[in-house]
Symmetry: none
Subunit: 129 residues, 4 copies
Amino acid sequence: MFPIDVRDVRPIYEQIIDNIKEQVIKGVLKPGDQIPSVRQLASMLTVNVNTVTKAYQQLERQKIIETIRGRGTFVADVIIKSIDQKELQDIRKVLKSSCMQLHYMGFSKQDVIEEISRIYDGFIKEEKS
Amino acid sequence: MFPIDVRDVRPIYEQIIDNIKEQVIKGVLKPGDQIPSVRQLASMLTVNVNTVTKAYQQLERQKIIETIRGRGTFVADVIIKSIDQKELQDIRKVLKSSCMQLHYMGFSKQDVIEEISRIYDGFIKEEKS
Amino acid sequence: MFPIDVRDVRPIYEQIIDNIKEQVIKGVLKPGDQIPSVRQLASMLTVNVNTVTKAYQQLERQKIIETIRGRGTFVADVIIKSIDQKELQDIRKVLKSSCMQLHYMGFSKQDVIEEISRIYDGFIKEEKS
Amino acid sequence: MFPIDVRDVRPIYEQIIDNIKEQVIKGVLKPGDQIPSVRQLASMLTVNVNTVTKAYQQLERQKIIETIRGRGTFVADVIIKSIDQKELQDIRKVLKSSCMQLHYMGFSKQDVIEEISRIYDGFIKEEKS
DNA sequence: GTGGTCTAGACCACG
DNA sequence: GTGGTCTAGACCACG
């Protein structure tokens, strides 16, 4: 499936969230597609069941997946989340911290923008052609 | 001095680190300037002395401030950190997570770049004219 | 495990650092080996958990051990640290102080070299035959 | 006189002790020579009077200088200190720590011995010719 | 007065 | 069970 890195800065449950989100954004996973059960994914990634459970709960709260009792877990229809101002502020704080770190590494504003541009291109599916 | 927000995503010591870094980058704090003692800052922010100590130790390790025994703590000469590839990868992962969250909020690549641009302008001191 | 001496010139956390470094250099602890959790080691040495935490954090910063969230702490792959000139100067100053003390105790240059030789042999694992 | 470095790893009083010891070992200061009073030296080095006082007290305890009431402070006759086993053990611990640090920087036993040799030559007055 | 070390103990995040 | 954050407070080294 996708690789889990125990040395990653992000906790494992966040890596799972990020990976599933990325696959949905890229269109690798489409609305209605079934995804592995908690237990299946846990054994595929050899991580703790509770860890996958936590990731799925958060994805469900974000309406990116949905679980149907007795059926399984599926990719939800794509919806644009309404903007939660608290969440947006949190993201801005994290971005600011990262930008300051990059600044100390000698990255100019333009360097950071190019970095972001490359990151964005990396997870967005081709939009034209 | 600056506000501490216990509800912030970042732990208190990181908020202190970020705030001091920002003041140094902006030029509000200049090399050689003395900054408040750990006890002073702790009482100003009404946080524990150990919390400030932790922030100061990390800033010192990053060579942003320096402590002189029995004298106090001072802003260090500005140096550009050499780029640690592991650290850069970590920042990229964090940026990617944030970008994906913003994407789900309906932010286009251009929106995110503008967001970054605004953040960068917010902490960089005017460089010309 | 290893003895902590409260009358030692070195603070407790440094004694812990030195002991673990020594075991790694000697090969008693090998890359990938799990070391005791902070709580285990604290109770083994009957010191406070925070003291062990401080030692582990410094060892981690020096890339001698690595911590994996919720899993534990492990010996890192051996890497040769790049030489930090400031750090080297600091070590030289400490060595010079020690040498002058030994000189006042009547140690000749050759005596000191033999002392160093014995110390070095004491923590280095046999390298050949 | 001699330079004090507030950023030195060694506290100021130890720098003073080391400098005076070195001058005595080198023969720049000879038995019977008068050295500056506490107040004089403090103002020469622009350090606190208490700091010099502490240095002089330790030098006196080590019988390297002696104070004669109303006359001043003088370099004592050279005597070889008897070996205090506790002190020797302390020095060994410090040397071992330093050697392990150097080992992690890639210094071989021979490199360290050469380092020590150079340090020793640096403070010892020429013994022959 | 300045920071450094250490203890004791609470609560949390992660797995 | 694992480490991370934070508090409260003691005592020490240095100046």
